[in-house]
Symmetry: C2
Subunit: 187 residues, 2 copies
Amino acid sequence: MRWEPGAPERLQKAALELFATRGYEQTTATEIAQSVGLTERTFFRHFTDKREVLFHGQQLLRQAFLDGVAAAPPDASPLETVASAVRSAASFFPGERRQHSRARQSVIDKNPALQEREVHKLASIAATLAGALRARGADELAASLAAESGITVFGISFAHWIREGEERSLADIATDVFRELRTLTAD
Amino acid sequence: MRWEPGAPERLQKAALELFATRGYEQTTATEIAQSVGLTERTFFRHFTDKREVLFHGQQLLRQAFLDGVAAAPPDASPLETVASAVRSAASFFPGERRQHSRARQSVIDKNPALQEREVHKLASIAATLAGALRARGADELAASLAAESGITVFGISFAHWIREGEERSLADIATDVFRELRTLTAD
């Protein structure tokens, strides 16, 4: 059943604009819905609250990480497997998405509640990733450490990717950050 | 001015008990205050809301990390400096605090809003730590990676430390986890 094709995406775009112009606190779910000609009821059919609108896509991102785990050779080390997961997640953010990601981040940076939700999203993906590594035979500690290190690399790479003037792809940045991690822990 | 010596600590203890027995959602700030003979007004003089009660002590923990950075030799690498910070933070959790930490964690584990706040606390400390590493001359990327890796090690070590039956000190666990991180990133 598709009542409104694309409604979540339209709501997300509208929310981002309203949060950016009016402020997150000052914007209601009803206003977001009305700004794109949808009802409050439709809004709440897709999202539990206005905060969740900015996190639409989280499950697709999680799946992108998991696809990258599955794509790693069976004999890959936990860190190599995680690097494959990060490359796969990076392909989720092509260059044409950079401007959107930048706008979303600047809204998040202004709101502690959104920052909390964002770090929790990444922590939750790290937990999923650790589970996938354990399923491939990594022991518990190695799985947690590799998964969290991968999410650290992803988070730092993403922050670089959305900087003004940055032109490298997210995957290329992540490769550099992984290299720096190896250098750093060898010291 | 100390209106009620020890009021924050009493409120924290009371909140933990009420959250554990009645549930976080079902407990109000007023009930927490009343259970230790304090007023709602006193509660809100110390905390902005009931969630914050569980995060009393965050600034002291942040300071413990910073003290560990300051205690590292000037020529320590970013990762060695962070290891010093984690050892210092670990001393903030002596064995006699384990039971309290365990009770607090089991309340947090049941509540997404508390989990978000907890990961945000650690992310915020990682940002502080990165700033302290930059101030010692680390470049930006090395500082971020080392700081976040240190917080990852701390978080994983802490989760082990509060397990039932675990008897090693937090500092000893952290030493083992740092060793595993070095092994993992060398693979």
